[in-house]
């Protein structure tokens, strides 16, 4: 597995709202949630940070062993890869900035990637996808028609 992954710009849109990362897969209409340490891992992925950097940041923010955090980060990243939400990043990429450390370290618990499929039919047809600067319903430049 690559050292770094980044958000799939073709398949995923995401925003972290009140500490929860909400991610939509534009191709399937499924949506996902990552909270707590999961949202921190996602923030690292958004900056194409290496797993080592991500675990460094988790160490600053949470109480727990490096081994369990590394295993948890690896698991989330593999799940995100499996869902097609992130892809392997090549090259050095942009130099990532550390996440702001929390005021006090919280106990670490392994994050869970929640997957929801209850809105698929709506998300697939709604103009949430294929919106570019010109706006829906223009075809996305990379959609191949």
């Amino acid at each position: 597995m690559a050292e770094r992954v980044c958000v799939s710009s073709k398949h995923a849109i995401a925003e972290t709202i009140e500490g929860e990362a909400i991610i939509i897969h534009l191709g399937t209409g499924a949506y996902y949630s990552l909270r707590d340490a999961g949202a921190d891992i996602w923030a690292g992925i958004e900056q194409a940070a290496t797993r080592t950097e991500i675990v460094d940041w988790l160490q600053e923010r949470y109480e727990g062993s490096r081994e369990e955090m590394d295993a948890a980060a690896l698991r989330v990243i593999e799940q995100l890869l499996g869902e097609g939400l992130v892809e392997e990043a090549s090259g050095d990429g942009p130099r990532s900035q550390p996440l702001p450390a929390g005021s006090a370290r919280k106990p670490f618990s392994a994050p869970i990637l929640e997957k929801h499929t209850d809105m698929q039919d709506l998300i697939l047809i709604d103009p949430v996808h294929e919106v570019e600067a010109r706006g829906w319903p223009y075809a996305a430049a990379d959609s191949g028609g």
Binding site: I13, A14, E15, I17, E18, E20, I22, I24, Y31, S33, H116, D118, M119, D121, L122, I123, L124, I125, D126, P127, V128, E130, V131, E132, A133, R134, G135, W136, P137, Y138, A139, A140, S143, G145
Partner: protein, 230 residues
């Protein structure tokens, strides 16, 4: 049942004069009667209101200051007297048996709250080839559980509530999410009930920066469901 139920169809329109007539005609062509059609002219300055007013009964036109799609639909709801509600965008068309076929599902399952259906999209015929080539491919016969094509019982609609006027996009997604949270019993039959027009100017969805509103709608729904479970 004593006679057939009254169905209120509601259209909110903002500067939709190009296609509003077709939308209205598709309602008047419904095989079901009785129905009323409430058009809310949401501050148009292109004559949309005059188009609607020219029809007369069973079409009623209400004019209001520009409030957005949700506000226009909500205004129409306040005027609706039907036993069932349906909503239509001013650039789309119902299939002629839409209401009749959806009503038949309520007849066979009185516990149903709302009936959805499938949508077929079409490229607006007024587009030239260059404009067509830039638009995405229309979907053909896809399930679409959205207020844009539902038929919902009046009481069930109010159990969910009005459309959110805080959203520019994701209004239907938000309403559907709240309907699911409220436990509405729904069905998405495999019948095409709506023809959705793709054109250069579809409903307000012109800004890519509005995409995150969908994420906020989903976040709000997750929060509500978690609170309900707690």
């Amino acid at each position: 049942m004593d006679g057939k139920p009254l169905v209120s169809v509601m259209i909110g329109v903002y500067n939709g004069s190009a296609y509003l007539g077709e939308a209205i005609e598709s309602v008047l062509a419904q095989s079901h009667r009785p129905l009323e059609l409430i058009v809310v002219d949401d501050g148009s300055d292109d004559g949309s209101g005059s188009i609607a007013r020219a029809y007369g009964e069973p079409v009623r036109c209400i004019t209001q200051e520009r409030g957005g799609m949700a506000a226009a639909r909500n205004r129409a709801v306040g005027e609706a007297g039907g036993d069932y509600f349906a909503f239509l965008d001013a650039d789309d068309r119902f299939r002629p048996h839409k209401i009749e076929r959806q009503l038949s599902f309520f007849a066979s399952d009185p516990a149903l709250d709302a009936v959805f259906g499938h949508v077929t999209e079409f490229l607006s015929p007024d587009l030239d080839d260059a404009a067509r080539s830039r638009l995405r491919r229309p979907v053909d016969d896809m399930p679409w559980p959205t207020p844009n094509l539902m038929l919902v019982k009046r009481d069930s609609f109010f159990k969910v509530g009005l459309f959110s006027t805080e959203l520019k996009v994701g209004i239907g997604l938000d309403w559907y999410a709240r309907a699911m949270e409220a436990g509405l019993k729904t069905v998405v039959p495999v019948i095409v009930v709506l023809e959705r027009r793709l054109h250069a100017d579809n409903n307000g969805i012109r800004q890519s920066e509005q995409r995150p509103q969908y994420l906020h709608v989903l976040k709000a729904s997750l929060d509500r469901r978690r609170r309900a479970q707690a």
